[in-house]
């Protein structure tokens, strides 16, 4: 009886250790040392939004993105036509909604970069509102340096990272 119990206990231990080892090969979630395992967030909850390439075509712009200089938040005049195209569209489609996503290059403080990305997104929002777009159609968010457009540490990569993506949540 005693031996039986011990074998059973060992079998359970072996199985649970084995399971832990299996799951660890996938995502390293385990049961050792009092960690009960990870929770998952945001997986499979992608919000619907309109394909960016499609929207760029509708608006007649190459890419619905505005790029910024290092540590700067002003919009260069070469992007005025993008602001204009989006403003015209949003005014004629009052149910359309956009999310302005501010981003930075991956240098410096991550939280300061969140502030910088927010300023860039707000700058674009302000320009759209000056063109008569309702603030109700706009949400701004900053991802700072957390979502680089291009990986790597070249100046070219950094330039493409410093941007505001204009994302249509609805047409």
């Amino acid at each position: 009886m005693k031996v039986n119990n011990l074998s059973r206990m060992l079998a359970i231990t072996a199985i649970s250790v084995f399971l832990a080892a299996c799951s660890s090969s996938k995502n390293q979630a385990g049961v050792q040392n009092g960690f009960a395992g990870a929770q998952s967030a945001g997986i499979g909850t992608n919000e619907p939004f309109v394909n960016s390439d499609y929207m760029a075509k509708v608006l007649g712009v190459d890419k619905n993105t505005i790029y910024f200089d290092f540590d700067k938040t002003y919009i260069k005049s070469q992007y005025n036509y993008i602001i204009q195209a989006n403003a015209n569209y949003l005014k004629s489609h009052p149910s359309a909604k956009i999310r302005l996503e501010g981003n930075t290059d991956p240098q410096g403080s991550r939280e300061y970069n969140i502030g910088l990305g927010q300023r860039r997104a707000d700058q674009v929002a302000q320009q759209l509102e000056l063109q008569g777009v309702s603030s109700q159609q706009i949400v701004t968010v900053s991802y700072g340096q957390e979502r680089p457009a291009m990986l790597g540490d070249s100046q070219q990569a950094y330039q493409s990272d410093r941007r505001v993506d204009i994302v249509y949540m609805s047409q």
Binding site: L6, S7, L10, A11, T13, A14, V17, F18, A20, A21, S24, S25, N27, Q28, A29, G30, Q32, N33, G34, F35, A36, G37, A38, Q39, S40, A41, G42, I43, G44, T45, N46, E47, R99, P106, Q107, G108, S109, R110, E111, Y112, I114, G115, L116, Q118, R119, D122, V139, T140, V141, S142, Y143, G144, E146, R147, L151, G152, D153
Partner: protein, 435 residues
């Protein structure tokens, strides 16, 4: 049958080890001359040897601290297991001041008895045994015992508490070719072992901050596409939403008494300001109030002041605000980019990120003299976090195009890089002492 099951258990436990990572690329730049010479004699493990080499854990801990010059195991051929077996003149000839000896015995039922002693070779006192302890633990606690012994040895010989039983939290990012990514809030032992996720998300996770008791971590999650501050329990993974204001919800930092979080909130405006949030009542108090970026609050050890980063003067600099009087003073003056500051435990210095000659370096600022010492020398470094004993700083850096973690001593003499993992590793946060 029993034997088979045991060997399966041993096999699967062994399968864990490849996931763990050990410190490597240790570059002891100047530390070794002043380091304490010590030998850690391999512990006899008996017939039922465990896969965990306790003496190796202690050896690595002490060597990686930079405070010890640990003798190479190949440099001696005596293996005393108890104080009476120590041949003092033999060990004195090996040019070490102290030796650590011990053994691990399997006592059945998956339990192990660990015995260790720290012996001084130059102590004139009648008893040259400085420390001796015995522990009974299970297999998966053997590493922890090793770290505990390292803490005791470190404290005995340096007078400073060791940090070998502390943990690191950090963000691990795995990017896929299709532009999607997996973001993981990870917790690992201070030496990188036992790494496991607390939270896994398809959207960015940022700015982990430990509660003072080491039981909870506050962080920013973009799981809803907009930033929100959450707190997770480290042991259970259970979590709760703390703030979800319009705009920026960032940079949570636990107050020393554990009752408040300092946070950066923009609340619909274009710029974040510092607030404190009472965790029990949920009440919010505004700390800064202007139209610049104010972020990255960290508390002084006594909770009386907060350091933060602000570009109110035109470029990001570190400021200190007195919580009672709201009197604010600028703290950094070297160069045009200083950020990510936090106090050393003695409140005499701050560790920060400083841009010098177009490089982002980790720096050490003495508050009295105003002297700024660079601890790193060029590159793209970020996110410094100080060990609770004030001796080491963990930070994020780049190596071969990947984000990895590195450590540097606060005197700048010891610098080591942690090996890369399956992904980019960023934003390390050193835990407090965990009892």
């Amino acid at each position: 049958m029993r034997k088979l099951l045991l060997s399966i258990a041993a096999l699967t436990l062994a399968a864990f080890t490849p996931n763990a990572y050990a410190v490597l690329n240790i570059e002891l730049t100047q530390g070794i001359a002043a380091a304490i010479p010590i030998a850690v004699v391999p512990f006899s493990q008996g017939a039922n040897a465990s896969s965990t080499d306790v003496a190796a854990v202690i050896h690595n801990d002490l060597a990686n601290s930079g405070q010890f010059n640990v003798a190479d195991n190949g440099s001696f051929n005596q293996y005393p297991q108890s104080a009476d077996q120590v041949n003092t003149s033999y060990w004195q000839g090996k040019n070490v001041d102290d030796i650590v000896i011990g053994n691990v015995q399997s006592i059945g039922g998956g339990q192990y008895k660990v015995t260790f002693s720290l012996i001084s070779l130059f102590n004139q006192a009648p008893n040259n045994v400085l420390l001796t302890q015995q522990y009974t633990v299970s297999q998966n606690e053997l590493r922890r015992v090793g770290h505990h012994i390292s803490d005791l040895v470190y404290q005995q010989l340096t007078g400073i508490p060791g940090i070998f039983s502390t943990r690191l939290a950090y963000i691990l990012v795995q990017r896929n070719p299709d532009q999607t990514a997996k973001y993981m809030l990870m917790v690992a032992d201070e030496d990188g072992y036992n790494a496991r996720p607390i939270l896994i998300s398809s959207q960015p996770i940022m700015s982990p901050s430990w509660s003072p008791d080491g039981k909870q971590i506050a962080y920013v999650s973009f799981e809803s596409y907009l930033p929100q501050i959450y707190v997770s329990n480290v042991a259970t993974g259970q979590r709760r939403l703390i703030t979800s204001f319009s705009g920026i919800n960032g940079a949570p930092e636990w107050s020393p008494d554990g009752k408040q979080l300092a946070v950066a909130l923009s609340r619909g405006s274009a710029n974040p300001n510092i607030y404190t949030l009472n965790l029990a009542s949920g009440s919010l108090q505004q700390v800064t109030n202007d139209w610049s970026i104010n972020t990255e609050p960290t508390w002084s050890p006594d909770g009386q002041t907060i350091l933060f980063t602000s570009d109110r003067g035109g470029s990001p600099q570190v400021y200190e605000i007195n919580m009672a009087t709201k009197a604010t003073q600028r703290v950094t003056f070297n160069g045009n980019y200083n950020a990510s500051a936090s106090f050393t435990p003695d409140a005499q210095n701050i560790v920060l990120l400083s841009r010098q000659n177009n490089a982002y370096d980790i720096a050490f600022l003495n508050l009295q003299s105003g002297n700024l010492q660079l601890l790193t020398h060029g590159g793209n470094n970020q996110s410094p976090s100080i060990a609770p004993n004030g001796k080491m700083v963990v930070y994020a850096t780049k190596a071969s195009g990947k984000n990895v973690l590195a450590m540097v001593s606060t005197d700048g003499k010891v610098n080591m890089q942690l090996p890369d993992q399956l992904g980019d590793v960023q934003e390390p946060a050193w835990s407090p002492f965990i009892s």
